[in-house]
Assembly symmetry: C4
């Protein structure tokens, strides 16, 4: 009984399956509480608000402290449900879980406040940074953050290299300006560290303008610094952007893989063929109620449903499609505009296939080609002829048998 409760608590807090609305709700409430909390920390420092709404901020603080404490305790209790820790004894699983980065963030977000309660002071300001650590709890809900972390880690060598280059340019330009203007502007360029303040603000193109060279020589050097500096800063931009794009791509790849396996049409393919097809498919997540295509639009791609249900509104009739079905192929194959309005009836995971890639796929895999052509014929009572790929009725029947056609 307790085991089942624990299992359910774990599902709600950690796993969040696609259709689990309780899990979604808890996730959103926690994210909202973090934002509310960080907002109150920020506004509390404004003297006018701090005095007037001091009580409100204190209540928010105490409520958050309570909720985050309960959250932490529950996460610790259900720690032995994690796939990676399931084989361990409960106490060891919980100890191991406490060393996870996310668990450390959760602990840091509550521990110092408790310390405060015991040491009898109400100056929350001293703990400002600890209270802002809660912002990191949002990382749990954003896949983007993890990707950035991986991108920075995998390119750390290149980033250190470009940091050395930048520091070299900062040092050199600061020294030259120090030599040039140290006697004329002693307060701004009187030492190299002071001149470095100018050099960094200039090289990053921030350009506060609080410190500016005034001599002709100083201005010429500053001009060269601005021009070369601009080109140099292309390095971290290029490195981080490229690495981030690769991380996102790799993550998408894993998602797509899981979805391809759920489409029956692809079941007969070998692993190498699936790997080939995956390069053509693009995973898309569509919210409930979103319009996937409108009648009359240009047709760029067709879609396979990995999970979820869509409603198809054709001029004459309306029907539903769900897991494993596909749609949008008619406009693509006949090169006409969309004839149906298609709406997501639940959260859908779709696999989009671009127009040209569909032809390539149908040509390379006659089984799939025959199956798609057959569905089209059933749907619009018309034969789609793609040159060089026409199958006889027998071939289609053979293909139907192999592909395990669900319509028969």
């Amino acid at each position: 009984m307790a085991g089942r409760t624990k299992q359910r608590v774990f599902e709600i807090l950690e796993e969040g399956a696609a259709g689990d609305s309780a899990s979604h709700f808890v996730d959103r409430m926690l994210a909202l509480l973090v934002i509310l909390n960080v907002g109150s920390v920020v506004l509390e420092t404004v003297p006018a608000y701090g005095e007037r709404y001091g009580q409100v901020f204190l209540v928010i603080e105490l409520v958050s402290l309570f909720v985050f404490t309960v959250e932490y305790v529950l996460r610790l209790w259900t720690a032995d449900q994690h796939g990676a820790l399931r084989h361990l004894p409960s106490w060891l699983a919980r100890l191991r879980y406490m060393a996870y980065p996310a668990a450390i963030v959760d602990l840091l977000a509550i521990l110092p406040l408790y310390a405060l309660l015991f040491f009898e002071t109400t100056d929350l300001r001293a703990l400002l940074l600890f209270r802002l650590v809660r912002f990191l709890k949002l990382a749990r809900f954003s896949p983007g953050l993890a990707s950035l972390g991986n991108a920075v880690i995998s390119e750390r060598r290149a980033l250190v290299g470009s940091l050395i280059i930048i520091m070299g340019v900062v040092l050199t330009s600061a020294t030259v300006l120090y030599i040039a203007e140290r006697t004329i502007q002693p307060e701004a360029f009187g030492s190299i560290p002071a001149a470095m303040w100018w050099a960094i603000a200039t090289l990053t193109t921030v350009g506060y303008g609080d410190v500016v060279p005034v001599t002709a020589f100083g201005k010429v050097v500053a001009g060269i610094v601005m021009l070369t500096g601009y080109a140099m800063f292309a390095l971290p931009i290029g490195i981080v952007a490229t690495a981030f794009a690769r991380e996102i791509h790799q993550r998408d790849f894993v998602v797509t893989w899981g979805m391809v396996a759920r489409v029956p049409l692809f079941a007969s393919m070998s692993a190498a063929e699936i790997a080939e097809v995956m390069k053509l498919l693009r995973a898309q997540r569509v919210e409930k109620g979103a319009i996937i295509s409108r009648a009359g639009e240009d047709a760029h791609s067709m879609y396979f449903i990995a999970s979820g249900r869509v409603g198809v509104e054709l001029p004459g009739r309306t029907f539903e499609l769900s897991d494993g079905a596909f749609f949008g192929e008619i406009a693509v194959l006949k090169r006409t505009a969309r004839s149906a309005r298609i709406t997501a009836l639940s959260i859908c995971n779709l696999l989009a296939l671009d127009a040209a890639d569909l032809h390539v796929l149908m040509d390379r895999n006659p089984t799939i080609g025959a199956h798609i052509r057959k569905v089209v014929r059933e749907r619009i009572g018309e034969e789609i002829v793609t040159p060089g790929g026409d199958l006889t009725e027998e071939e289609i029947r053979a293909a139907r048998t192999t592909a395990g056609d669900p319509d028969d």
Copy 2:
């Protein structure tokens, strides 16, 4: 009769076929009126102009109001001509059309002004933002805007992720500076929101310079913020630029597809072959009167005419080519400079094929290779020999029959 008028009005307002000069004219007039209108809204706020030319601005406003009202009514009247709405009863088609984003913009651009007329006030300033909504009407004429919208939508998760990262950095740096300089510069860093103003201006490299840290510790932190901030902002740049490039590419792909189908030379190819060829072709739109190639230039590519007419000026003679023909292949095959000056006699949709890709195409498709070689022979009375791809006279005759050579 009314049906035909409606059809024509619809064509002029919405569809804009390539050669329809009335449609082009109306489009340009409407775009001009929008720009004139926005310009007058902007200038009206300048006190000197506002007083002197008040009457002029009012006239522009009233004329625009009239024109945009007529435009909206006509668009609504012809709503049932849209491919996607054609099967619906007229009243339903018009209701559905009113929910289109472009139609909402059109309505917002006129409705509040009418409200104004009835409530007897002439203070147009209160409606400034509504009057600027008209600027959005330009979106109808620019494919770039739609692509940007799609790019932002498809990457919204990654953008939200990088927004969280940026807000985290803004919060942290603002808090540290607040702690460091709150007593020294109470007006600038006296609260976290005040310090956030500095942090955002610094991280985006805007650097107004109205608020600048003055302590050594504050400057060191600010230096680190500038350096790391710079690298972080690579994220949205990379994400948006990549997504936008993909959107543009996909749009081009659909355009190219429509054009390839119009070139008879490609008629004999299978769908998979067309998909392959499309990767080699690059769609180009050329204005009437533009010079496509000058004699004596280096030859980078040959061209197929999807629609339009070009004039070919060879040293000795002059002739015209139109839909389905190709040109520029001689210089590419013989690796010499261009011998002809080629001018667009109308708006042309061209498909460009790079030099190396032409050889690949001719080798892979002997029919196309033979046809191109035959046309070259007729044009310059000389045989082009590409190693490994020579066909006999019989093969060429066979190819000619298959490709439906228009010269025979």
Copy 3:
């Protein structure tokens, strides 16, 4: 006789073959004169220099005027030597040439000054912009400029689209700030055009700081403008950078093509094979005296000489290689460090082939593989064995005959 002189003048001024030192010298002198000229225009406006060195600047001006006039007349005289104009009568060729952009720049650079001489005034300042037009003459010597022009032209639609987006954001943010701060800072935000000055400086991240919002609402709006603006400006950066990269690539492609044809080893390949090989090769231009590889370095690639001569210093002996030969293959095939120091004895056009691509090339083209293996054996008296690609002595002999081995 005159024909030959004209031919030579044309070669010196326009064509500039790789080894023509007279042409190189004239190009450099003209570029130097342009820089000297622009420099004197710039310095002349400094009051201190303008008075003291007035005579010097006048002399530079008159000499330049004379030289650029002679240059223009000579270019016009030899206009009928251009490949594209050779078939026309001389007067027509000259008229056509006068319409070339470069010729218009040349004319603009001298004509207004002559107008000045006739209208008796010595105020050269009135002609400042015309005198700076000479800077455009440098475009003739820089391939980068032409590529930028092509990039901007081919992406003009996308650029106009992003300009509309940016203008929309500028308009909206300026209007909101105008509404928010028009009464508080009337001199800075008293009209929309005034507020647009702030909006552009902020969105481009220039951030002069001469105009800054002071109200809380104004600062919040400005913060949003900075953050969204930053992401928006990714558009032109992405568009121009991508298009420029493509232009550069295409130009390189044409250069490589011309060079591949000069390497005898590739003579036996079909056009499609050459197109395939070209994707592997990278054209490099090396100045006379440059060290191409040092002994002991890691070996990344081997090189084919399209034109020029290199000196090979092996531990024991020294020899020269010239057009059509290749080097650097031993370290690549044996996966060792370089054993020879290789220096360019003249300006060299090289084709670099990366290590892995060499293996691919040798496997796909057994003839080339056999030839390279044979040369290696002759050079180091040792057999290079690449698995799956070993040929017998007979095959090598056959290959040698086909490839037209220059050593036999």
Copy 4:
């Protein structure tokens, strides 16, 4: 005996094999000394520190001078151990070595200080720039710097082209502003060089704000300069970032090549196959003690060990793997989460293979596929079935023989 000492000194100073801890230690000490040195040069210029800690800075200076002198002498002594110089007589090897860029930096870092000692002055400030040259010594330890150098050199033409464009824009905008505001703001726009200071600060988006146009015309021109300038600066960013990415990629490629050769599984492949496989593999360097995968994580890739040892902690048992072995294939093939925790027991060079690529590899190379499947069966006592790739027991035995299975 001396030869062996020299060999060892050379190894420690220059080569730094993967496991050589003495070499690592010396490298780190030297890098630390450089940073300490540069830091003391920078802090010495701060009047407060300069006076108080003058003695400390002098001691650091003298110690560094001594260490760097010893380092230079030792490097010179062991110069004839370099692969590239080994065949030369010692004195010639040393002379050649002195011309290496790294050796010149080493000499510049000490020579001027000695000059100082002899000419009896203690004003170290006069030698500031020479003392900062030591920062360049860090270049020896960062591969990023060499890549940047190569990137800049290989794209120097494009960079010069974009520099000309930028200078043209700077010149034009400075001249227009000079004409517009020279009489109103004579101190800021009184000459073209003065106006260029404004133009550069604006075009690079630094925007100090010390000089700002005040007339309406000047502001309009400045607005256009900001907008066009922004797009133009995309050029150097694009050029440098692209070239740097290519350099890094090429360097990685050479590293991967060297590692693939050490994995016995790939020994039976032909060179062309290895080149193909290398495109799938990603080289990774892992520090000692790092966790490579945790149990319960999603499985993105499997790993081959090129060198080093890893510890595998499975629920039931623990074992070690070393050079040539592979791991992580089970979760990838069964599409489950990781079941083992894997830690690096020494510095490891790994080759990562993405999930989809593994299937492609196993399908294309039945030998490799059979071997991997066999290892999996031994490890988990279960058969992995990949559709279309099942081998009989005989085939596996055959494959085992060919691949030289180390387990038999």
